[in-house]
Each structure stands twice: as structure tokens, then as C-alpha cells.
């Protein structure tokens, strides 16, 4: 557990995650107010990474629930293991016969069987899914609910109950209450508006693309093999691309991929040839690649390219 905000910053840093003051404040608040965090922002700015770093920093296991269209309670919470139940019934046939040994009527048999019914609906046959795992865990966990905007509205409504009380009811077993309240991080890429009720229950964190300096630090930390001058140039190019009118601008993860590609290709500088061959790592649409090539044009050192880029931007 974090003691103060500086502790958060240091803890996340030790997990190779560079957190802004805003992020660390919100994480600390989430922990001390026991509230979930809702992190919104463009794809690939490290929202999911934050959960991993958070779990790593406090030494708690990470439980991840990936949302998608059609995700429902049984897939997120628990399922009865029918197959196992069937198997046990088969294997325990003899025992069952003993139990039912001297009964004379069907009614009596059913009554006796009913007494043993609980055996088949016990936790032995419960298949916990991520939410249940997080609630029943013996140690506090970090629960990551990824891309909540992809899930259906009904699931969002169901989640409200779990997130406000941290308990769920299983009809056969009764209410299961969390032993330790998990720390919850929900992420959203903003593909649709989330309901106000959900937002109300969460602390809101907006994660945006980093500044040039921050991105530089991230690249240096994650790809230490890249020469500093080259990293500087690469980050400058990415920052410039983000200002352009593209269908999909490069995210941090793509910057890192590119940086790794530059290391692998043993690039000496970012010249036209390197750019032409590796630009597809950054940009994922052909039209974007063409546009970027036109804008950057020519070769030469990064300085003049940046100047040219500026001129074209105007």
C-alpha cells in the first residue's frame, strides 16, 4: 500500500511506468477513498500498463477482465461446472445407491436426495471468472476492467452493483462479499459515452499523449539501447505526426515499437530510407503513410525536417 503521493510516483517508477503528478494523485486517492478509477483517453497511452504497474508496485496480483460486445454476467462472474457435476454424479453412483438404499417410494428418495443437494452446488463446482476471482481472493488484488466502452449497456449496469457494494449474490450460495476490497481500474477508449451512473462512482482520470519531454523519458526507459540523439529525433517525428491530420495518430506503444525497430535495424540516423521502410510501424493506414511521406519529404537531419514540417503545416 502506498503511504503518500511521492510513494506512488516512486512505486510506479520502479515498475518502469512514468506517471504524471495527476496520475499518481488519482491512484493515491483511489486507494485511500476505496473508489474505482475510470481512465479515459486515446488508445495506446498506457492505461492498461498503469494497472499492471500499480499491481506490481504494491505486490498484488492483477486480475484482468477484458470487455467485448456480448460479454455477460456468466462470463464475467461465475459459471457452474456442469461437466464436473455430471462426472461426479457418475462416479458417485455407488455412494448414491447406498444413500438411497432402503427407500421404498419415489417421494422418499427425492427427499433424501434433496438433503444431499448442496454437495452439487457448492464452491467445488463453481468456476470463478475474473470478477469472482477478484472478490474472493485472499489477498487484495488490482482488478483491471479493460475497455469497458466495448461492453453492452446491460453489463455496465450490472457492474454498478459490483463496484458500489463489492458483493454479488449467487442464488444457490447466497451473497458473496469481498474479503478485501479490490482496487479497480476501468479503462475506456471513448468509443461511446458511458452512463453517468458509472462515472459518478469512479474517480476520473484523463490520460493524454505525453509531452515531448515525457515521451523522451519513456523511450529512454523502455528502449535503453537506442542512442539518445536518435531517440530525440524519433520522438520529435512522432510528436510532429500527432499534430498532423491523420486517421490514426501514433500512440506511445507505437513509438516504442518504432524505437525497437530502429534498434533492430541498427539505424544510424532517421533518414529518408529508414523512414520509408519503418513508417508503417507508426502509421496503420496507407493514406496516412502517403500523407506523412509527402509532409516530411526529402532526407536530411531532423532539424531541417522539422522546419520543413512546420512550413507545410501552415
Amino acid at each position: 500500500m502506498f503511504k503518500n503521493i511521492a510513494d506512488v510516483l516512486q512505486g510506479l517508477g520502479s515498475q518502469q511506468y512514468i506517471a504524471s503528478e495527476e496520475i499518481s494523485t488519482v491512484v493515491y486517492l483511489a486507494q485511500s477513498l476505496c473508489k474505482p478509477i475510470l481512465a479515459e483517453g486515446p488508445a495506446g497511452v498506457g492505461k492498461t500498463e498503469l494497472a499492471k504497474a500499480w499491481a506490481g508496485a504494491i505486490g498484488a496480483p492483477l486480475v484482468r477482465l477484458q470487455c467485448y460486445e456480448g460479454l455477460d454476467e456468466s462470463k464475467a462472474l461465475y459459471e457452474w461446472e456442469y461437466a464436473k457435476q455430471m462426472l461426479y454424479t457418475q462416479l458417485l453412483r455407488d455412494t448414491l445407491r447406498n444413500v438411497l438404499g432402503e427407500v421404498n417410494s419415489l417421494a422418499e428418495a427425492a427427499k433424501r436426495l434433496a438433503q444431499e443437494e448442496d454437495v452439487f452446488f457448492s464452491e467445488n463446482f463453481l468456476l470463478p471468472r475474473p470478477l469472482m476471482t477478484a472478490l474472493t481472493s485472499e489477498v487484495p488484488v488490482v482488478l483491471l476492467i479493460d475497455e469497458i466502452d466495448r461492453a453492452d449497456v446491460e453489463f455496465e449496469a450490472f457492474l454498478l452493483e459490483v463496484l458500489s457494494d463489492f458483493q454479488v449474490s449467487v442464488p444457490e450460495l447466497g451473497t458473496i462479499k469481498a474479503k478485501h476490497q479490490p482496487m479497480v481500474l476501468l479503462t475506456s477508449n471513448n468509443t461511446r459515452e458511458l452512463s453517468e451512473a458509472l462515472k459518478r462512482r469512479c474517480l476520473y482520470l484523463h490520460v493524454d499523449y505525453p509531452t515531448q519531454q515525457d515521451e523522451m523519458n519513456i523511450v529512454r526507459l523502455k528502449v535503453p539501447n537506442l542512442r539518445p540523439e536518435l531517440a530525440q529525433q524519433a520522438v520529435a517525428v512522432v510528436q510532429q505526426l500527432r499534430n498532423m491530420d491523420l486517421r490514426k495518430v501514433p500512440s506511445i506503444s507505437e513509438t516504442l515499437d518504432w524505437a525497437r525497430a530502429l534498434v533492430t535495424l541498427n539505424a544510424q540516423s532517421i533518414d529518408e530510407k529508414t523512414l520509408n521502410t519503418t513508417l508503417t510501424v507508426l502509421l496503420k493506414y496507407e493514406t496516412d503513410v502517403q500523407k506523412a511521406k509527402r509532409m516530411m519529404g526529402g532526407s536530411g537531419d531532423s532539424g531541417s525536417r522539422r522546419d520543413r514540417g512546420k512550413r507545410y503545416d501552415q
Binding site: E21, T25, K35, Y82, M86, E193, S195, K199, L205
Partner: protein, 461 residues
């Protein structure tokens, strides 16, 4: 401090940010945990608990310094840097000048600026209570500074310097003095600006909430102030969100379809054929929308609303394609899906007006023709086609034949018109010819009508 936070929350609400009671409690708890000593942290803790939309960050950033600022920079005392003799000289000079700028000169030289009450009094005299928008802060503070006599200050300072020179004060001391006065003057201007901003924000928070009431629902789109527009935008958003949950409910109810024998047998293979799981056919209701939005000049005042409605609908209904038309039809689905609402609407408008406003004349007939040639595949038996426009066609061919065809192909054809029915058919309006073809025609002149129309949009017949 708690009172101040509560005041601040009221200010946020007045600026159109939705803050619930539970969120205010969270904010106060967060402040309790983190304290107020560090301004950055304090600010983050308020923002994370109170503001849950990135679009509202701007309002937060504007209001925060007004409520929790220091009230502007501190003024310095000019006497501090002067020797005993020089202080006497300054006092004498000031006394000798006694004119109507006494008060101002006193504030600027002594470093004791006007008190909070004095500032409030001055702001009211300058008419702060009549200012409704944060944008009005500028003229109020300018008028306030004028009333303090800033206009004559230069003259006054010149006289003071002359007097001091006559009394024999050293050039160095005089320069130091004028420096301090200038710095104090800027500080005072800043204090005034902050005070005015705060007062306007507070006035706005204290005003009765008639804006949110039913009046706004019935106010025509064309005659809205900026504030009202903002509130309306949010209302449109909520409206469509409501619509979505209704669709979701319908879908859920529709889920229990017919018994599906094939799927049941397949699913129960693993239980040795004992039917443990019963499968039903899913009859999902997946609405499809095609929106045709008029962005022409006659629609300019409402076009933004229509586009915003388009945006929200596309956000909520997965299978939506949107088109805009002026002289010709253009697909705007990509613009609408890729951006934040404000930007998307702006970009869509710009894409139509890139050659200037007067360049085109509306031609719905021709636009329809283009639509038939290029995008007819978007309309099928499950599609609801919604046309947002005034039906003013600039005397071009209305292409009734294409409209009829469109109606036949689509599940429903709905027209939302911002004009009053009595104006239909006048001038270049072809509306009366379109009306009998459409499955539904709604006048949408205000939010109340819009909400009724949207509600009926996806009705299952």
C-alpha cells in the same frame, strides 16, 4: 474551506458541469485525505472527483483559479526601499497633490490594496451584477479600473515625480519608486480581474435555475444564447443516451425467442443428451439508421444542432451512416465517428463551407440523385432513413420519384423539419410535396419537439 469547495461546486454546476451530491461528498473526502497545502494535489483531487467528462475540464480550469486563487499577486510597499528622509518626502509630496486620485495613489504606494469588500463594492458600481457570461469579465474589469482613475494615473505619476525632484530626491530612488508603482498597478489590475471573474461566477451560481427548466425546452433553436446552447447540447446527449437504453431494453426483452431444437441438442451433447441447457433463438432487434442532414445556409442556425443529433445518434446506434447535403451529398460518417462531439460538428460544417458560405445553392434533388448512385447499399428493409432539413430546395427539382423509391426501400422514412408547418410550401419550400411520401414528419423547432421526435424514431411497428 469546505464552504469554499461547496461554493465552487455550485459554480461548476452553473457552468453546466453535472455534479451529483455523491460526487461532492467524494470531493470533500478527497480534500480531507490530501489536505489543501499543496495546490497541485488539491486541484487534481477536486478534478478527479468532480469532473467526469474531458470536455468539462475547460470549465474547471477556468473556475478553479477564481475560487482558490490567492486573489491576485501581492502588492509591495514603496516605503520599504526608501530611507527615512525619502519616506518623509514621499508623504509630503502625496499630501501636496491631494486630488481625486488620492485613494488610488495610496493603494499603489502603500502596498495595502483595496480590501475584499471594497473590491466587491467597486465591482458592483462597475456593473458586475449585470454581467451574465464569463466573457463579460473583461469589460467589467476595464470599467472598474477606469472608475478607480487608472486613465489619469500617468499624469498623476508624472506630477508626483516632478514634486519629488523639486524636493531633491535622488534619481535612483525615484526610479525605484516608479518601478514599485508600476508593479503594484499590474498587481491591482490582476486582483480586479480575479475579483470580477469570481463575482460573475458566483452570481451565475446563485441565479435561480430557470435555464434548466421547461422554458428552454420550448425556446426555438434559432434564438438561443451561448449558455443555453451549451445546456441544450448536453440535453441532446442525454436524450440520445436515454434512447439507447430503451433500445437495449427492447433488445433484452426480445431475446427470449423461439425454442431452438438444433442448438439445444448440440449444447447438451456433453451431458449425454440430458437437456440441461435450453437454447432459444435470439431475435435481436438491431436498428439501422441512415441520416441525411441539411447543412445549407437556410439551416445554419439549426444545422449545428442537427449535426450534433447526428453525432449522438451515430455514437449510440452502431449501424448508422450519416450524410450531409448542401449542393451535393457527402458522407460524413467518418468525421462523425472519429472525433469528439464539438470538433466533429465543426469539421463537418467546415467540410461543406470550405469555399465560403455563398458558394452553393441547396439542391436536395441532385443530392438525392448522388445518394442513389453512390450509397444506395446503405438502405435496406431494416433501415430507418431520417432526413433533417427544411425542404427548401432553391426551386430545383424536388425529385419526388427518388423520394418514393427511397420510402419503398427503407423500413421507415422520417423527416424532421425545423420550420413551422404554416411555412411549408411557401417560397422555395417543397415540403408539402414530400409530406405525403414520408412515414413520419415532425416539426422540430425546440428541444421538447426534438425529444418527442427522437423517441418515435426507432419505434417498432
Amino acid at each position: 474551506m469546505d464552504d469554499r469547495v461547496v461554493d465552487f461546486i455550485r459554480g461548476l454546476r452553473a457552468a453546466g458541469v453535472r455534479v451529483s451530491l455523491a460526487e461532492s461528498v467524494d470531493a470533500l473526502r478527497a480534500v480531507e485525505v490530501l489536505g489543501v497545502t499543496q495546490k497541485g494535489t488539491f486541484r487534481e483531487s477536486l478534478r478527479a472527483t468532480l469532473v467526469k467528462e474531458h470536455d468539462d475540464f475547460a470549465a474547471f480550469d477556468q473556475l478553479f483559479p477564481l475560487y482558490f486563487g490567492s486573489g491576485g499577486p501581492v502588492m509591495q510597499n514603496a516605503m520599504d526601499d526608501l530611507s527615512g528622509d525619502e519616506q518623509e518626502m514621499l508623504k509630503a509630496a502625496l499630501a501636496a497633490m491631494s486630488g481625486r486620485l488620492d485613494q488610488l495613489m495610496d493603494w499603489l504606494t502603500s502596498g495595502n490594496g483595496p480590501s475584499k469588500e471594497e473590491l466587491e463594492e467597486l465591482a458592483n458600481r462597475a456593473g458586475a451584477q449585470w454581467a451574465n457570461n464569463p466573457g463579460d469579465a473583461r469589460w467589467v474589469s476595464r470599467r472598474m479600473l477606469q472608475q478607480m482613475g487608472m486613465g489619469h494615473l500617468e499624469e498623476q505619476i508624472r506630477q508626483l515625480i516632478q514634486k519629488l525632484q523639486e524636493m531633491g530626491m535622488s534619481q535612483e530612488a525615484i526610479e525605484k519608486l516608479t518601478g514599485v508603482i508600476q508593479a503594484n498597478r499590474e498587481a491591482l489590475a490582476e486582483q480586479v480581474a480575479q475579483q470580477v471573474g469570481l463575482q460573475i461566477a458566483q452570481d451565475r451560481a446563485n441565479r435561480p435555475e430557470d435555464l434548466h427548466g421547461s422554458d428552454l425546452m420550448h425556446k426555438p433553436f434559432g434564438s438561443l444564447t451561448e449558455d443555453e446552447t451549451n445546456i441544450l447540447r448536453k440535453e441532446v446527449q442525454r436524450l440520445v443516451a436515454q434512447l439507447r437504453s430503451r433500445i437495449a431494453l427492447r433488445r433484452k426483452r426480445g431475446k427470449e425467442g423461439k425454442f431452438d431444437a438444433k442448438a439445444t441438442i448440440r449444447a447438451n451433447q456433453r451431458y449425454g443428451g440430458v437437456p440441461v441447457e435450453i437454447k432459444h433463438r435470439k431475435n435481436k432487434l438491431k436498428p439501422r439508421l441512415v441520416l441525411l442532414c441539411d447543412t445549407s445556409r437556410s439551416m445554419l442556425q439549426v444545422a449545428e444542432f442537427m449535426l450534433r443529433l447526428t453525432y449522438e445518434l451515430q455514437d449510440q446506434v452502431a449501424k448508422t451512416r450519416s450524410f450531409g447535403f448542401y449542393a451535393d451529398m457527402q458522407e460524413i460518417s467518418i468525421i462523425m465517428s472519429g472525433n469528439r462531439p464539438g470538433e466533429a460538428v465543426q469539421e463537418a460544417l467546415e467540410s461543406f463551407y470550405k469555399y465560403g458560405v455563398g458558394h452553393y445553392a441547396t439542391d436536395f434533388g441532385h443530392s438525392l440523385d448522388t445518394f442513389f448512385k453512390k450509397w444506395l447499399d446503405s438502405v435496406d428493409g431494416r433501415t430507418t432513413v431520417v432526413i433533417l432539413g427544411d425542404g427548401r430546395n432553391n426551386y430545383n427539382s424536388p425529385r419526388i420519384d427518388l423520394m418514393k423509391d427511397l420510402q419503398r426501400r427503407a423500413k421507415r422514412l422520417v423527416w424532421l423539419n425545423p420550420e413551422h408547418p404554416r411555412q411549408w410550401g411557401t417560397g422555395d419550400s417543397d415540403m408539402l410535396e414530400y409530406v405525403p411520401i414520408c412515414d413520419g414528419v415532425h416539426t422540430v423547432r425546440n428541444l421538447a419537439q426534438l425529444s418527442t421526435a427522437v423517441d418515435k424514431l426507432l419505434d417498432v411497428r
